[in-house]
């Protein structure tokens, strides 16, 4: 019997499988649209990295005195701000928060965004809705091709995934849960403190 790795049938299968496949140019366009949507975020991350990089400052005695005076001024303004905020909280008045895509709009209200122009139904499942596929549907904005939902979340670490036309998919924009791994891929969202 011929060794299987040199068997003509195996060679035929390999040769046929090596043929190029037809790809959909629209799929590439969708991919690049998603990449361009990512770009500002990635750039912002690099800018922050630049600002946080250590650097040496040279100060003359006069410059040092001016800087010290400036810092005292900032402290005073900050103190007034904290004071004002306490008064406002005591009044029981609510504050308005602006909805910004992809970023938690406050420590407790979180917007989930999923880019998928050709799907018909997207919902959110997580530890906060008992992984119920019907409870938290996303709404589609045809102008930008994204699905979104905004909901309040308790502070802490949450595991979640999107259900896209029946398939469970982790959030491509968020880190995966380390315990998810193979076949149970969930994403992680930290609410309160760190913004992920």
């Amino acid at each position: 019997m011929i060794d299987s790795e040199e068997h003509p049938y195996v060679e035929w299968i390999a040769r046929e499988a090596r043929r190029p496949v037809l790809t959909d140019s629209a799929a590439r366009a969708r991919l690049m649209a998603a990449i361009r949507a990512e770009a500002p975020r990635a750039l912002r991350r690099r800018r922050w990295a630049g600002l946080l990089a250590p650097r040496t400052l040279m100060l003359s005695p006069l410059g040092g005195a001016l800087l010290a005076a400036g810092l005292v001024g900032i402290g005073v303004i900050a103190g007034r701000f904290v004071h004002n905020r306490d008064v406002r909280a005591a009044d029981g008045r609510s504050t308005t928060v602006a909805v910004t895509p992809q970023l938690p709009v406050s420590d407790t209200v979180v917007q989930f965004v999923f880019t998928a122009p050709r799907t018909t139904r997207v919902s959110l499942v997580g530890d906060f809705n008992d992984w119920d596929t019907n409870r938290t549907p996303l709404t589609y904005d045809g102008n930008v091709g994204v699905w979104t939902v905004t909901l309040p979340l308790s502070a802490g670490r949450h595991l979640y995934a999107f259900v896209v036309d029946g398939s469970w998919i982790p959030d491509p924009r968020a880190p995966l849960a380390p315990d998810g791994g193979f076949g149970h891929a969930n994403s992680v969202k930290i609410v309160g403190g760190s913004r992920s």
């Binding site: 011929i2 299987s4 790795e5 068997h7 003509p8 049938y9 195996v10 060679e11 035929w12 299968i13 390999a14 040769r15 046929e16 499988a17 090596r18 043929r19 190029p20 496949v21 037809l22 790809t23 959909d24 799929a27 590439r28 969708r30 991919l31 690049m32 998603a34 990449i35 361009r36 990512e38 770009a39 990635a42 750039l43 690099r46 029946g166 398939s167 469970w168 998919i169 491509p172 193979f182 076949g183 891929a185």
Partner: protein, 204 residues
């Protein structure tokens, strides 16, 4: 046995020279990666154009489904874009990208096997349904996909990396984290399964 005649007659045709990495691609890759990291997002389109079709072939052969393959490709290129600042230039970009692709295909296959447990029971119904228009280009393509789909996913993955992507066992090992001897065993077993399949069908 039309199929048999065809593969016997062209079995001596020289194997396609799909050299895994061409030197020019490597220098182009490095330049494009630098441009992307400098903030030029359009340079990433050049990388996508260079690797999309090759990655698509692997994803389609591995997953056997165009929608799943597209999901794998989207996730692969998005992840690669996000992680590009972690890519080390001493590695080949293509190998680095393929590592992400192989992992994405594994995840999607695992998720789908969960989904398919339901579908298998409905197969009897489907077999009696009128033939549907297939999304595959031709008859041979369809046969190849069906035969590949019969292989265990780990055997299929090893077979594709060896015979379709034409990688060395060392490259495959670096990519999958699996030892060379285990990979050789997987490729051998995949080929054995294919040969056994042939032995079964040739008398029909």
């Amino acid at each position: 046995m039309q199929t048999f005649v065809r593969f016997v007659t062209d079995r001596h045709v020289t194997r396609a020279t799909g050299g895994w990495v061409i030197a020019k691609d490597m220098s182009d890759d490095a330049a494009d990666v630098q441009r992307v990291l400098a903030g030029d997002v359009e340079a990433y389109a050049a990388l996508v154009d260079r690797y999309y079709d090759r990655c698509a072939r692997f994803a389609i052969r591995m997953l056997g489904d165009r929608d799943d393959a597209e999901d794998a490709l989207q996730a692969t290129f998005l992840r690669a874009y996000r992680a590009l600042h972690r890519y080390q230039e001493r590695d080949r970009f293509s190998a680095w990208l393929y590592r992400i692709l192989v992992n994405q295909c594994r995840s999607i296959a695992a998720r789908r096997s969960h989904r398919e447990r339901v579908f298998v029971r409905e197969e009897a119904v489907l077999l009696n349904a009128p033939a549907r228009a297939t999304s595959w280009a031709g008859e041979d393509e369809e046969i190849v996909q069906r035969v590949l789909a019969e292989l265990d996913p780990l055997l299929r993955e090893a077979f594709l990396l060896k015979y379709i992507e034409e990688m060395s066992y060392e490259e495959m090992s670096a990519l999958t984290g699996v030892g060379v001897s285990a990979l050789k065993m997987r490729v051998k077993r995949a080929c054995d399964r294919l040969r056994d399949r042939w032995e079964r069908i040739k008398d029909d």
